[in-house]
């Protein structure tokens, strides 16, 4: 028996306990009701809308949306054929502008404190210089996060990208303890994100964020299908992020296109914490001949961002 109360907490309670309707019907029903109905069979189904109202929806319309979503989730597991995506980050150019963070948050409807690409201030040793380290998900070739997922919600595709299927994730957070680079974030509360009415869920874009599931950088796999660069790469004003394909041996930051193998050789590219054996797909170019010095990264920061870098955390070089 469904209640007419538009009590938000009650809706969430029912949603989580699982009255058997599933998230699809709750999200899609309010959208589909009254709109395009595909193949009306005449059979109606009573569902609970997001506002807590009971409506009658054509059963076939619901089925269609669910079928499309499942199809999209299947293709997302296959990946783009004959590609192996890599990212190269030139630490000499990073000045902590944080445009990559903002572009990513905007594109994926993330709350402002969720950072799928995160900027660290790192100082490796007492007599080495500090530098800014942008850290997206490394899409490792030996991903520990994928190995430990009990339900296969996170998977590695042939083109190298590791995705999370928000419709399968049970929120056990084992992948978060498995990742040595702390690249994953968890949606601890309802992100309150609105999506268009007939939105089909696609793990390659991974919106809307789902409460109780894990999210991470997806190398903007949705953009890659259209031969466009990921959002962070496009947004970086310094051109520090390069993206490309290992098979083609080319990387670009939008303005410059370079040969990957040459860049690695000439600038001694390396991977972070290589000894862990995770084989990341993100390479770094050491911060030599820096375009911007470290302190320019501290300028113009908000108070809370300044606070976070005051203590460089466990890797404090002084110790």
């Amino acid at each position: 028996m469904v209640n007419d109360k538009s009590d938000k907490s009650r809706r969430k309670f029912l949603k989580n306990i699982g009255t058997g309707l599933g998230a699809i019907s709750i999200g899609g029903a309010s959208a589909i009701a009254g709109n395009k109905i595909i193949g009306s069979s005449g059979e109606k189904v009573r569902v609970l809308t997001a506002e807590g109202k009971v409506v009658e929806v054509d059963k076939d319309a619901l089925k269609e949306l669910k079928r499309e979503t499942n199809e999209r989730r299947e293709t997302a597991r296959e990946g783009i054929p004959n590609r192996k995506f890599i990212m190269v980050i030139d630490l000499a150019k990073c000045a902590n502008a944080r445009k990559c963070v903002e572009a990513c948050q905007e594109g994926h409807m993330l709350p402002k404190d969720h950072e799928w690409i995160k900027l660290y201030s790192i100082q490796d040793a007492e007599h080495t210089a500090p530098y800014w380290l942008p850290r997206p998900c490394f899409h490792c070739d030996n991903p520990l996060c994928v190995s430990v997922c009990p339900v296969g919600a996170t998977y590695k595709r042939d083109d190298g990208i590791v995705l999370v299927d928000s419709k399968r994730c049970i929120g056990c957070k084992f992948c978060m303890t498995g990742c040595p680079y702390s690249a994953r974030s968890f949606h601890w509360k309802d992100p309150e994100a609105e999506v268009p009415e007939d939105h089909v869920y696609d793990p390659e874009l991974n919106i809307p964020p789902v409460e109780g599931t894990v999210g991470k950088c997806v190398f903007c796999a949705d953009k890659l299908r259209n031969n466009e660069l990921p959002r962070c790469v496009q947004a970086c004003p310094m051109g520090a992020l390069y993206f490309g394909d290992l098979v083609e041996d080319a990387i670009t930051n939008g303005a410059e296109t370079l040969r990957f193998s040459e860049t690695m050789e000439q600038k001694h590219g390396y991977r972070y914490l290589e000894e862990l054996g995770t084989h990341p797909s993100v390479y770094y170019l050491p911060p030599v001949n820096r375009l911007f010095d470290y302190d320019s990264g501290m300028e113009g920061l908000s108070e809370q961002d300044r606070k976070r870098y005051k203590d460089t955390g466990p890797r404090d070089a002084k110790k």
């Binding site: 004959n82 590609r83 192996k84 445009k99 903002e102 572009a103 905007e106 594109g107 030996n142 991903p143 520990l144 994928v146 190995s147 296969g152 998977y155 590695k156 042939d158 083109d159 890659l224 031969n227 466009e228 660069l229 959002r231 790469v233 496009q234 947004a235 970086c236 004003p237 310094m238 051109g239 993206f243 490309g244 394909d245 290992l246 098979v247 083609e248 041996d249 080319a250 670009t252 930051n253 939008g254 303005a255 296109t257 370079l258 040969r259």
Partner: protein, 292 residues
């Protein structure tokens, strides 16, 4: 070709060329008029089509935001501007006009063409315009695979007063198309209308080694963008295939030894449980027999 100084300055500041999605309708509809920028480019492609691209965009916080749906008018002839045509900017903010092949464009005293693109402005956006002037060049390319390597032979000439003038003292670049952009692989130099470039041996192509070779004057001060493309098999065959039978900790199917070990252990343990349950059934049976 003379490009307005501030246009180049703008482009070099905003280093990205690719686009974010356009703002939603709510964000566009602000009461204050916005002033967009225009980037005006000319390209002569491999089929000798002359293409004018006018891109209108806003310089936002997070980079370039292209503006869709704005009408752009293209003119030529600095003395007496003639309308060439009109186009509307697409989702990428680019309004494209292809100049008909048979249309002969007027040249000025420097033997240059002059083009002018203008967006008049509307309630939301201010007016913006750009002009470029460039010289037409005829480029031809042929390929030959010799013992010394893969050679590209290029010829370029301009026409002045009906006479061929060979191009000299100019750089030309060889590109190959990659997924997001063009990769420069070699460079040539025109002397007396001819250039010879050796194509490197190590450029990855597709699975069969197919590769499109592009010779291009790239953002040239005089010739703008002129290119010639030829499909070849000069690429190194490369592909990325993960074997279906590959099994690891992170693949969908577990390694064989894991499945076997687990099965043996489970069968062993639950077999003993079965024995215990059977014992319980036997105890019950004995009672039944006794009671008979």
């Amino acid at each position: 070709m003379k490009i307005k100084k501030y246009n180049k300055f703008l482009v070099s500041i905003i280093l990205t060329v690719f686009y974010l999605y356009p703002l939603t309708a709510q964000e566009k509809g602000e009461p204050e008029k916005m002033s967009p920028y225009m980037e005006f480019k000319y390209l002569k492609n491999t089929e000798e089509q002359r293409i004018l691209d006018a891109k209108i965009f806003l310089a936002g916080e997070l980079g370039i935001i292209p503006v869709e749906g704005l009408p752009v008018r293209f003119y030529t002839n600095m003395e007496e501007p003639e309308l060439l045509g009109e186009a509307v900017t697409d989702a990428h903010g680019i309004a494209r006009l292809i100049i008909p092949d048979d249309l002969i464009l007027p040249v000025d005293e420097d033997n240059n063409w002059w083009f002018y693109a203008e967006f008049e402005g509307n309630e939301q956006y201010e007016m913006t315009m750009e002009e470029i002037s460039l010289m037409d060049v005829n480029l031809s390319m042929s390929l030959e695979e010799t013992e010394d390597g893969k050679m590209i032979y290029l010829e370029a000439y301009t026409m002045k007063n009906g006479e061929k003038v060979p191009v000299s003292d100019e750089d030309i670049f060889i590109f190959v198309p990659r997924m997001f952009s063009l990769l420069q692989v070699a460079e040539g130099y025109f002397i007396d209308g001819e250039a010879e470039v050796e194509f490197p041996d190590n450029v990855p192509g597709d699975g069969a080694g197919n590769l499109t070779v592009i010779a291009r004057f790239n953002d040239h001060w005089q010739f703008a963008n002129v290119e010639k493309r030829i499909e070849t098999t000069w690429g190194v065959p490369s592909s990325h295939d993960v074997a279906e039978s590959h099994r690891a900790l992170w693949t969908q199917i577990a390694p064989r030894w894991m499945i076997v070990t687990l099965s043996i252990m489970l069968v062993g343990v639950w077999g003993h449980y079965l024995y215990a349950i059977i014992s319980m059934i036997r105890i019950k049976r004995i009672e039944k027999k006794k009671n008979k």
